[in-house]
Amino acid sequence: MKQKRFRTFYLSLFFIILYVPVLSVVLYSFNKSSSTAYWAGFTLDWYRELFNDRIILEAFKVSIEVALLTSVLSAIIGTASAIISIYVTKSTEKTINGLMFLPLIVPEVALGVSLLIFFSSLKLPFGTFTLVISHSLFCVPYVYIMVQLRLKEINISIIEAAKDLGATRWQIIKTIILPLVMPSTLTASLLALAMSLDDVIISTYMAGPTTTTLPVHIFSMMRVGVTPKVNALCTLFLVGTFLLIGINQIIGKKGGNIFEN
């Protein structure tokens, strides 16, 4: 009994500390005063100001565009890689695993700088293209891992049955494997969307002179100083995130949800 009470106390305290910083950002986005020193009353002015800020709207557009493209690209490459990995020899599969592992273990700053050097030596213009390509590098591995987990659960007898009935490899992939992994692909592509929308470090190096993403812009705003406009922006971001999770809960019922992987 005593132990149970302590457990409840500890977990509650932990979750309070985990969520208070987030909630305080939300709270102060409604504060009339621009300082956090006191509460001057409820207002929506900061949100209004946000929608009149052209740079923010522009950055938002870039972010959404990049995130959607990244998500689709990563879903395709990641799913294809996972399916291919079951047909190749063991050593080749290990090579693919190793390469996928690389962007996850190299710290983001190092990866960002290396991509900066790479793309600038190719004289490629920085912008949407470089952003999408670089984001795909840390999103594809997650899609790959999640689809692979699903593939491991496929019952071998249905594949054998299809083979016995004369299905070609391509038919098996199209009619059996793809429909079975699709829920995982969708869940993983939402994760890719969220990771792309959240990325600060790599985007800092990949953004072009006129195409910055929202997090890069928010970061530069935060560096200059605290204004409730940043809070309002973050709050809207939070709402967007929860919408994503909601979508996932609806479409992801079959494939398990994001929190299980």
Partner: protein
Amino acid sequence: MFLGKKAEPYYSLKRNSGKGYNMKRVKQNLPSLPIIAYFSVLVGIPLLLVAVLSFLSRDSLGNIIFEFSLDNYKKMLDPVYLRVFLNSFSLAIFTGLITLLIGYPVAYFTASLERKMRSFVILLIMLPFWISSLLRTYGWTILLGNDGLINNILLFFNVIDKPLNMMYKFGTVLTGTAYMLIPFMIISIYNSVDKLDRSLLEASYDLGGGKWKTFFNITLPLTMPGIARGFTLVFIPALGLYFISDLLGGGNTMFIGNLINNMATRGRNRPLASAFAIGMILLVILVLYIYGRVAKNNKESLYQ
């Protein structure tokens, strides 16, 4: 219907295990070529470029001079820069320790909850992954600032009579980094605790082992793989999350991430930034090597 967890996995279907380079094997591996090319070109080559660049230098305008030199690495041994490495290293180590100390009980208690409650609590632990990391960092500036929430509350209740100075310290950066990364630690440990064979604990109790004795002799050693994995997953990003040290540390303490970022952007010294990036990667490799040693018997990979 088509998915049986216990069914023999499709995985065991495929392969032709013959050795040597015959046409059949080449044909079998051909489809993987585009993926291997994609990652080799976009990750492999950039990292090689960084390695090459780290041996070059630049002129006063930031242009690269193509001449081999070890100057960048010699510079890294300068006490000022060694200090930066030490700062980052201790930040990463302390982040690992703090997330372990706070996260272990969370994982342990979560595993002991009833099923329904447990999945709710896991959801609460994972949710921050989906919340913007800038927002989560920024939250701490609102809490800890001189006119922040904590100071306001303490002043209001007359606990203090002038605001505490909590921002822009090593501890502030540590708090923010640990806060950002603790879910990784908890989930890793939780996976280990969840797999724990509870009958071993009961056996220990039956044999007269006390609560603490059982914990230190059975639970802790058996959850070691989870701890090692959590530590690695926390340590690596802790080295490079420069936006946290920027926002919460205010540049008072220099970390490798900030240094690389400054050198690569404002400093226009890409060769030196490259050398530091290589140093950072070597540190990561060292940690992964240690992890490999510790988790030798553990077949799970780092990112499962």
